[in-house]
């Protein structure tokens, strides 16, 4: 439970999954939650968007061979709305992505993603549309998400990005898994519990 690898900069090719209000049921359909581990979830990512009912591929950008190995996902606003399933960010991460660039993020998703070191940064609408178009046009375009400069760079063009400061700090210092720090506060936790009238075993 020591500090995790800091997430300061993510650089790599990208996949665009455009559209607003992409819900976590779409990111990982519920039937893939029937498991007692998160292993193998990368294959479940956007499963029903990628596969026809007969199992054949629909030609989703995630299946574009030219984009194999991409580490940045570019999407729309309110990404990750709906169900609290952590399986959604787990699947994105296990499919190789280390950063998601979007217009905004649903809160539970954002917290879950940050907690596992998946950086979610926002761009202004016009910049996001520009980046999305350029990613769609060029599968070799390298996108860099820089959490120190709070910028997204791609092919010589830069965009101002944003993210809540608490999440940014946690990622760049490698303290995004809060458990160690929460455990440090156990004496204070017991004090708060007692003040709330709860019986506290020593």
């Amino acid at each position: 439970m020591s500090a995790f690898q800091p997430v300061v900069r993510v650089s790599g090719t990208a996949v665009a999954v455009p559209g607003d209000d992409i819900d976590t049921d779409r990111i990982v359909p519920a039937r893939f939650l029937k498991a007692v581990t998160f292993d193998g979830l990368g294959d479940a990512l956007f499963y029903d968007e990628r596969h026809a009912p007969d199992g054949g591929k629909k030609g989703h950008p995630l299946d574009d061979p030219a984009r194999a190995g991409a580490t940045v996902m570019v999407t729309g606003a309110n990404f990750g709305c709906g169900s609290s399933r952590e399986h959604a960010p787990q699947a994105i991460r296990r499919a190789g992505f280390r950063a998601v660039v979007g217009g905004s993020f649903a809160e539970i998703f954002f917290g879950n993603a940050t907690g596992i070191g998946l950086a979610c940064v926002r761009l202004e609408e016009g910049d996001l549309a520009d980046l999305t178009r350029r990613v769609q046009e060029d599968p070799t375009l390298v996108v860099t998400v820089d959490l120190e400069a709070m910028r997204v760079e791609a092919g010589g063009r830069g965009y101002a990005a944003s993210m809540p400061e608490s999440a940014r700090t946690a990622l760049v210092t490698g303290t995004y898994d809060p458990l160690a720090e929460l455990l440090e506060g156990l004496e204070d936790v017991k004090r708060t519990a007692a003040a709330l009238g709860h019986e506290v075993r020593r």
Binding site: A30, G82, E86, N112, G185
Partner: protein, 477 residues
């Protein structure tokens, strides 16, 4: 100490703030942690890997709801994964000494039904669960929200979470709801008005005389869908209705301790003049019986309105409207009423409480489900089921042609065998109409109140319950 007027959110937050973390977030104490079989096994495994214990096992309560079959309770369950996940939960709660409401205990049910029924859900408390509809418990004036599995681990190990305090929006609904307009319509209308991302970054405080007059079960329906409007949680302030609901419940304080607790609970009400980041006012008279037409809960219309055409909406939304219409196989500009349905689902943590069944039974008595329609009624908990059976409500549903099921989440998210097939269209009392939500990637969901589900079941098409059943006419008569 607190001269400044404070909202309920401020008061609950302040009382539960353990300390400020280095990131600036708050380490927040969680009074009540609810656990179910789908989002917890990995959390218990992480705890085991780290060699950690459950810090306060008496503050965690578990049940099975998501994956449990509702057509039979005979074990082993047909689905081996369902059996395995439930076995994991049984093992985990036994190992850590966590109270568990198992199938057949008489207390099992959807976790958001169980908490209130047993009196675990109390005003002024913090409640977390690995399920986004934990917002339901806000009906009691609790700060209650969904969390991910790693956070389930955090609560198990420390009884706290690292969180940022949201902004607060007061949503006032005043006036008189029209006949045939239910709590479900109120929240669908709010989401339609503010949008599915309107609540991101906010908590919602539902206020005004419409909420004051609502029963606890109606308030739960509203708070349940806060998350569908983007708000991680929403609450109604505790009042006499809240206190009377909790009196005598198993886990509520008893005797003199109850009166003391009640006084404390009321002290959490927002102070007059407290600060809101935003205030929205809605006239009750403007809330129609509402149904969704698209693939998120904000894509909704009044039952007597046409479905929108892409050209009717701002350019930025056109593609989304076109995509939703294509998935739903609906034509813009045409009325939603009259759309044939294949399945009627009456259940879920939004609307499967006793009052929902009582209300539907009033209208369903003597009616028959349309021959084309598969109709299932899934009580939210074993208690609701037993109470319905005591009142003879099950017989009304069975006589009408509904399948009468055991308690669980069922076709709300289709993790058990209850699911749509192909592009079936379902009139559903649940909370999400996302693509694929009800178990078929091409399945279609239309959200509505339970009485509207019954109307659709009877006529075989999306219908105005006011016309089908004369809902509300008895008020005028």
């Amino acid at each position: 100490m607190h001269d400044r007027p404070r909202s309920l959110l401020d008061k609950v937050w302040d009382a539960h703030a353990v300390r400020t973390l280095r990131s600036g977030q708050t380490q927040l104490f969680i009074d009540t942690h609810l656990v179910h079989e789908v989002t917890s096994p990995q959390a218990f495994a992480m705890l085991r890997d780290l060699g950690l214990e459950v810090l306060m096992p008496e503050r965690t309560f578990a049940t099975v709801d998501h994956i449990v079959p509702t057509h039979t309770r005979v074990e082993p369950f047909e689905d081996p994964m369902a059996a395995e996940m439930i076995a994991h939960l049984r093992r985990n709660v036994a190992e850590h000494g966590i109270t568990f409401f198992d199938v057949g205990s008489g207390k099992q049910g959807i976790v958001h039904m169980v908490g209130p029924e047993l009196g675990l859900t109390q005003p002024g408390t913090t409640i977390a669960c690995g399920d986004s509809h934990t917002s339901t418990h806000g009906a009691f004036g609790a700060i209650a929200f969904g969390i991910g599995t790693t956070q389930v681990r955090d609560v198990l190990a420390t009884q706290t979470l690292a969180l940022s305090k949201p902004k607060l929006r007061r949503i006032e609904v005043n006036g008189r709801l029209g006949p045939g307009v239910y709590a479900k319509d109120v929240i669908l209308h709010i989401i339609r008005t503010l949008g599915v991302k309107g609540g991101v970054g906010y908590a919602y405080e539902y206020a005004g005389d419409v909420f004051d007059r609502m029963t606890m079960e109606e308030r739960m329906t509203v708070c349940n869908m806060s998350i569908e409007g983007g708000a991680r949680f929403g609450y109604v302030q505790p009042d006499e209705t809240t206190i009377e609901y909790l009196r005598g419940r198993e886990y509520a304080p008893q005797g003199a301790a109850f009166d003391e607790a009640a006084e404390r609970w009321l002290s959490f009400r927002s102070d007059p003049g407290c600060r809101y980041d935003d205030v929205v006012e809605i006239r009750a008279e403007d809330v129609p019986p509402t149904v969704t037409w698209g693939v998120n809960p904000g894509q909704a219309v009044a039952i007597d309105e046409p479905v929108p055409r892409p050209e009717d909406v701002p350019e930025s939304e056109r593609a989304a409207v076109a995509e939703a219409l294509a998935h739903m196989k609906l034509e813009g500009g045409k009325p939603i009423a009259g759309t044939p349905i294949d399945v009627a689902f009456f259940g879920s943590c939004t609307n499967a409480r006793l009052s929902d069944f009582v209300e539907v039974a009033r209208y369903l008595a003597g009616r028959r489900v349309h021959p084309r329609v598969k109709a299932i009624a899934v009580p939210g908990s074993e208690r609701v089921k037993a109470e319905c059976e005591r009142l003879g409500i099950d017989r009304v549903f069975k006589a009408a042609g509904f399948e009468w099921r055991d308690a669980g989440c069922s076709m709300c998210l289709a993790m058990n065998p209850d699911r749509l097939v192909g592009d079936q269209l379902c009139a559903s009392s649940s909370n999400r109409n996302f693509k694929g939500r009800q178990g078929s990637p091409t399945g279609r969901t239309v959200l509505m109140s339970p009485v509207m589900v019954a109307a659709a079941a009877v006529t075989g098409e999306i219908s105005d319950a006011r016309e089908v059943f004369g809902v509300g006419r008895e008020v005028v008569a």
